[in-house]
């Protein structure tokens, strides 16, 4: 009897502790998404008259602009993720394997410091550096490398630079975790058995770090795909980023139904990409998430 009572009070406590998280999940994520889902399947037949239908999704596939922007966003995000991985790997390796103690902590702090500034300010910083009258084009003219200042903003490369810069830390942290746990004697053993730098990386280091690599790639890919600020500020009007299309539908065109459908397509895209990523790397979602 008393045991049953303590058990039920344990459950009560558990539910109370979980309540904020559950409320947050349900109230801010599940409910709005349900509403958006319903919205996305609505067709307007007349003023204030709606019927259930797939019109919004049909528009997406019928209109080449939407489809092109969608694919373009996915491809640029993939490229940005790959570049971030290439750039973050040596950084994580240096912090995890080549430095010890204070120096390693200092390097971590150096990676973290840019994040003390808000993303908007950081992106504006890039604009100051790269715009036609900015620091870098001016420097190139001074050095005599270009005759006139070059506009460095509003290129795809500029968007990539901004995205990689914003995502770097989210790749370095999981990579550091998985590289740090790699026993140095495994690397030495691989060398001792005749491996060289490349084969040791391919056969020992990468397989060991794969959960961290996958985790970092998933996080960076999702952040990049859903990024609005960097793409629109550095890419300008022509950035053709899918989140901008969603923004336009909701805010400019006030077509909530279309915007909701786009939102769901983006969600589907990121889910499919994550699934493909996990299948390709042979990782399980739970293992990877425990690394992030």
């Amino acid at each position: 009897m008393t045991e049953a009572r303590t058990r039920s009070s344990h459950y009560l406590l558990l539910w109370l502790l979980l309540a904020p998280a559950l409320l947050w999940l349900f109230g801010l994520i599940v409910l709005p998404h349900l509403d958006l889902a319903l919205l996305s399947f609505r067709e307007r037949t007349g003023p204030g008259e709606y019927v259930f239908g797939l019109e919004q999704y049909r528009t997406f596939f019928a209109e080449p602009l939407y489809w092109d922007v969608f694919v373009r966003t996915a491809v640029v995000s993939l490229v940005a993720t790959a570049l971030t991985l290439l750039l973050a790997f040596p950084i994580a390796w240096t912090i995890a394997k080549l430095t010890r103690g204070r120096l390693s902590a200092l390097l971590f702090a150096v990676c973290l410091i840019p994040f003390w500034v808000s993303e908007t300010v950081r992106t504006l910083g890039w604009m100051i550096l790269l715009r036609e009258t900015g620091v870098l084009p001016g420097l190139l003219v001074t050095l005599g490398l270009t005759d006139a200042p070059v506009e460095m903003l509003y290129h795809d490369a500029t968007i990539l630079v901004g995205l990689v810069y914003t995502s770097l830390l989210f790749m370095v942290v999981p990579l550091y975790g998985s590289l740090e746990s790699l026993d140095d004697s495994l690397i030495e053993a691989a060398y001792d058995l005749g491996g060289n730098g490349w084969t040791v990386l391919r056969t020992v280091v990468i397989p060991h770090a794969l959960p961290g690599i996958t985790a970092g790639c998933i996080v960076v890919f999702m952040l990049t795909l859903g990024n609005y600020l960097t793409a629109s500020l550095l890419g300008g009007k022509n950035s053709l980023w899918f989140t901008e299309q969603i923004y336009t539908q909701f805010i400019t065109r006030f077509n909530w139904e279309q915007g909701a459908a786009f939102g769901f397509l983006l969600l589907a895209l990121s889910s499919v990409m994550v699934w493909i990523g996990l299948r390709l790397s042979g990782q399980r979602f739970a293992d990877v998430m425990s690394r992030t």
């Binding site: 026993d183 004697s185 495994l186 030495e188 053993a189 691989a190 060398y191 001792d192 058995l193 005749g194 491996g195 060289n196 084969t199 056969t203 020992v204 397989p207 060991h208």
Partner: protein, 373 residues
Amino acid sequence: MAETPDQDLEAKALLKRFGSHTAVDSLSFSVRRGSFFSILGPSGCGKTTLLRMIAGFIEPDSGDIDIGGRSMRGVPPNRRPVNMVFQQLALFPMMSVGENVSYGLARRGVPRTERERKAEAMLERVGLPGSARKRVDELSGGQRQRVAIARSLVLEPTLLLLDEPLGALDLKLRERMKIELKQLQAAFGTTFVYITHDQSEALVLSDQVAVMNNGRFEQVGTPQELYYSPATPFVAGFVGANNRIDGRVSALHGESADVTTAEGWTVRAQRHDALAAGDAATAFVRPEVAVLGRSVEELAMPAESAVHQGVVESLLFDGANSAVLLRESRTRAEFRVALPQTGRFADLKVGETVMFSFAPERAVCFAAGARHG
């Protein structure tokens, strides 16, 4: 190319410093082909540095290493005819047992089918047939040990280096692996260089043992030589159990000397160094060299032997290695005597007074602070 074909390893004036600390101090030695060579020393004596220099992970400051008659100067670890069994074994957890064993063959570009055949044959030789598909964590500690050795030996190295590979195992398994290691080495005939701080491992396994201290070899010899004729006080104290008696030389008797402690206890031991009366000296007497008796007659020693008297301080029962810790009656000096296997002293009690004696020629004394390399 091979000028000394019977030597698989030759170190020439090998020197390595870390800051002001000399880890390996102008060391020269050679290891005969097919032998089991151990480097025995306390932690921090430089044995790991020495091993890592042979493997190629550390470059010596000066001196040279010849392996199989070829200088290893500037040769990276992956190009040396040497393989290493690491302290924690360092098996690749992301690969199967078979992939671990064939890892080195794959790096040499051996085709897959031949690789698998060789790996399977090697696993069979180390007593693990049919386990190529198993995961590393499915194996027991002893089996992993064998995989680590198989992974190295499949490459047919000139030299196999072993870095205290038994250290992580529990006592029972360690005893068994000692025997297995010796049998494996005999079966393969590969030269083994083994480092350890465990004198029992070194004595049981080796053909030759080098006792290392402060970056130098104190003595290189067979286990029997080290045990019965230690060349330095360090070897006498480090290899096997020994009673250490510090004092000054009070008298010389031909080959022997009397060493008298500050408290006034005198023992007689064979002189290792040229000693003169008054010199500071250290005598070593092994516990099994001394005999125990309840009367002078029971000692059954020659009439001229010195007889000492002691009080039983504690009984150290350890099966065949049982001993008794005595306090010399007059000076309270500690002295350990092995108990005979006959069970004659099974009824010995703490506090009992007994006689003990030993033949001076089976004890040894050194000039205190003497160095021999």
